[in-house]
Assembly symmetry: C2
Homo-oligomer: 569 residues x 2
């Protein structure tokens, strides 16, 4: 239909002169401005709300009696890759939780495939029912201390700048680079000076924070304490309260969300795995918990919708009101945020609706380019005269690691794991086909008594990370990953006991999310069988290689002391 | 300087590593988010704030001790023409009141000169120290019931759409046209569907309001009661609290501004004349009075700055924080909003600063194209058999008028004013050189005992409006206006006793605002000398011809019954 004719139909339907396309009848509408709840019809034409606070007629009537209507939720920062499924499966999995818009940073796939990965996400974003918006990955690779599959400079990002789904520049993690005036970083900030620039500034305070903000970086999802949040708010930064699978800041930050701040606070998940989505939910879980801590209901829903939209310049959404995008969550309970139906751009979300999407060809199916390894590849030579070896110590639920030094057993002149002391061998196998590096070391705190676990998800460069009690099982697990084109595997006694193929760039499955959730359960069981004592071993293994998180990490280039910001000699 | 080098300098100055350009030292900074007041330095580089909440050094230090810093004020809707001076003089007059951004609608000059008038405003906007942003006039002419100098269709506005100073489409006054699907109106709404569309919807409620809002119209400055404002807020409309010279809504609307709503409410002046600016102030006066009514201080300042910026998509301003545009008002008193210094885009506002602007050649210097008139032009033939004549009744301070029917004296077969009953003759002389129309009638309530007053400001088409006790003095006043190329004049006993030339499109002076203010005083005195009993005769005469304001009006085409929306037979 001609856009002018459609506009006339919207106006006339809003005025009650012609029927709407869809009416939600007799629903309790929450006003996120005033907090009032009003029983009303909501009339929709095409993708737009055209009427509220009145009686309307339409072809299609959705019974809203006894239910609440709130604006669709906006996840302001996440990596879809962390859901382990494709963007289209993510859509099918997360949209029913009321999340009608996400601002994603395709940082993981970009580290593997570069611009091709970003293009794939943009192609998917044109198909999803939820509105997937993309911030362009600003830090690929994150550091020079690991081998990535790609490098993105300002000139690589610029062609995407005007794409309809692109919002701006994604989380500027390299805050030391900003403060030091790093040329590549400055070029990116300069290229996106007119648009949104997303922040990432854990623990940054005082004048260093000011310097970072002077670059017009406007948001932060890495704030972990209320005091830090209050300083950032006072300095004009919007706080995105994050509750992911690994990083959980909601409890600490709930107190900052009140009537004064609710237009300057939004919500995000950052990284949320399919098990958590299945068991706890997505942003709906954050909303439920914030309300449970005592935050005023309409301010929580405001932060989850209109505030998020305004902070990121999405002027068309965030309110259930005439003239606004028809993104609506219908709830059984308001305080408990139990979503029973979702309207996305005017369409009632049903299983059939997802079938109307066009498939997008997967990319990066041959991205795992490592050569098969033998057990000998993991041999660590004992250094004569040195009887203490640095060991990475991990603790359940923490991404930061610690360092211990241990005297390890030696056999055939090579250092051995110490199963009794819970010290396993760890290795990071470069897999982008660049140099065949294998970084090796030891890790404590996982609990394996035998076998090995391996994953091609290893932030941020996504080389293959493997930990094990035996070199043989480590090679079995790694080789299976290479065969599968990436994924997760558990090996025990020379064979693979559980696996999940992630052939889409070595990061995402080609399967439905339900299948992935089932495989995650099987992987969890398999790790427990070989003695694993932490609840999320693959999550923690995935952060073993990230050299920007304190204190001791392992990349394909070797053991890295994050505090000294250099390799361990 | 290269933009990357400048960015590095901003970052380094924010981090305290190099001196800033300007530091405001030891000022009390109001946090418009939390309401906290903190004594701090504010560091500025170029047009940007780079540091707060710390000690800074700079070449130029402004002593802030004992003063408060708040974000510069944003007037969200006004017609600069109503100040009777050019945009550059408006800048010099109003910026010292702390108004660092205005969103103007050049509706008056557009009715006279069409696109040329808009272009002139954009040229001026590139020179002003304050940031003058333009919404493109959507309703030129307002109605078909008067003769305008120009007509603007969607295709006339589109060339300006991407100009850096253009925000969107200005107040959509023609709400009946929106609701009726008027083709020209729909074309404009469609052309600006992706940008901001400003509203104007007095008394529009219920489903008709919904229909209007369905067109994505987002703001209203015509709300006059709190109940109306609450309905509009609940329907996603931002309320711009207006306090102009003629229309004063602040008292009635103050109660809607609270912690819940302050991100959805902003301030505007719409039309404010130079006398009011001189005597009461500009937005600073609105802020002062809102605080005096009991609105929380930081919510008032928020509405005047950040909320306004967000509502209109100006993402770079509205907070005094690192990375934000350095638009700052320094106040002697916070509650009393006494502005003592202003920083506009990093520059301290001084008389010298205004001298750095390039002059812009005035336009429309020959826009008053009426031919000189004789007293006979105002003769109104008596109709035989009819002894009652409709009379427009005006009341001080009201733009709406009323109707009375009176038996008027007749001389030489023509109807005469009845000075004893305070009934004067009125006429509207078409002045765009189109048809030479003269609409004639009678007006009651001005009080003149002799003489005449005339003005080429006559909303919205700006023909010449004249009222008088004598046809001779009416012609003297009108002819002086024609000689001056437009303006205001008082005639008494065959000669002009006071005048103000407004040769810039017949709307604005070429003189400094101080001169205009002085002339306004003289005009006021001259009208009082001939018996005028209302305080603002020129303001009320300027609205005598506006056929969209009830109840009885006079255009160049004749006497207009606004309630019946047709000419009086």
């Amino acid at each position: 239909m001609d856009s002018r004719e459609l506009l006339i139909r919207m106006i006339r339907a809003g005025a009650g002169e012609v029927p709407a396309d869809v009416v939600i009848r007799d629903v309790r509408l929450l006003d996120i401005v005033s907090g009032a709840v009003t029983e009303t019809d909501i009339a929709i034409v095409a993708d737009r709300i055209v009427g509220t606070h009145a009686r309307y007629e339409a072809e299609r009537v959705i019974d809203g009696r006894g239910r609440f209507a709130v604006p669709g939720f906006i996840d302001t920062h996440l990596h879809i890759e962390s859901s382990l499924v494709s963007p289209l499966e993510f859509d099918r999995c997360v949209l029913p939780h009321g999340v009608t818009t996400v601002l994603c940073d395709p940082h993981e796939i970009a580290n593997v495939l570069g611009a091709e990965g970003i293009r794939y996400f943009l192609d998917c974003a044109e198909q999803t029912i939820m509105d997937v918006r993309v911030n362009l990955s600003s830090c690929v690779p994150s550091t020079a201390f690991e081998t990535s599959g790609a490098r993105l400079e300002a000139e690589d990002l610029l062609p995407f700048r005007t794409h309809a789904k692109v919002v701006g520049l994604a989380e500027v993690m390299n805050f030391p680079g900003v403060l030091a005036g790093d040329a590549g970083m400055i070029a990116k900030l300069d290229a996106f000076a007119d648009g949104h620039i997303d922040g990432h500034a854990p623990l940054l305070r005082g004048q260093r924070l000011n310097g970072y903000l002077a670059a017009r970086i406007r948001t932060d999802h890495e704030t972990t304490t209320a005091a830090e949040a209050r300083e950032k708010l006072a300095k004009g930064m919007a706080i995105l309260i994050r509750e992911g699978s690994a990083s959980k800041d909601l409890e600490a930050l709930a107190e900052i969300l009140d009537a004064d701040t609710s237009s300057f606070v939004a919500l995000c998940t950052d990284d949320r795995n399919p098990l958590d989505i299945a068991e706890e939910g997505h942003l709906d879980s954050s909303i439920r918990r914030l309300i449970a801590t005592g935050c005023p209901v309409h301010h929580v829903y405001r932060a989850a919708s209109h505030s998020a939209a305004r902070i990121f310049g999405l002027a068309d959404r965030g309110l259930v009101a005439p003239g606004w995008r028809a993104d609506i969550a219908l709830l059984e309970h308001l305080e408990d945020c139990r979503v029973s139906d979702v309207i996305a751009a005017g369409r009632l979300v049903t299983p059939e609706l997802f079938k109307t999407r066009k498939a997008v060809n997967p990319v990066g199916l041959s991205s795992v380019k490592a050569r098969p390894v033998t057990p000998e590849a993991f041999r660590i030579e004992a250094t004569s005269g040195r009887n203490q070896t640095p060991v990475i110590v991990i603790k359940p639920g923490l991404l930061i690691s610690f360092r211990e030094d241990a005297a390890l057993p030696i056999a055939e002149n090579s250092l051995q794991p110490d199963i009794g002391a819970d010290i396993l061998k760890a290795a990071v196998v470069e897999r982008h086909g660049r140099n065949g590096n294998i970084g090796k070391g030891f890790v404590k705190g996982i609990g394996l008594k035998r076998g090995a676990i391996a994953s091609s998800i290893g932030h941020d460069c996504h080389n293959i990370t493997v930990v094990g009690a035996s070199d043989a099982d480590m090679s079995v697990a790694v080789n299976r990953l290479i065969e599968m084109g990436g994924g997760m595997a558990v090996a025990d006694g020379g064979r693979v006991t559980a696996q999940l193929a992630l052939p889409l760039a070595g990061l995402m499955s080609l399967k439905p999310f339900e299948t992935v959730t089932q495989a995650m359960h099987e992987l969890r069981e398999a790790t427990q069988k070989i003695g694993c004592t932490i609840p999320e071993p693959f999550l923690q293994v995935a952060f073993l290689a990230l050299p920007v998180i304190p204190h001791l990490k392992l990349t394909d280039m070797g053991l890295f002391d994050v505090d000294r910001f250099g390799f361990v000699a």
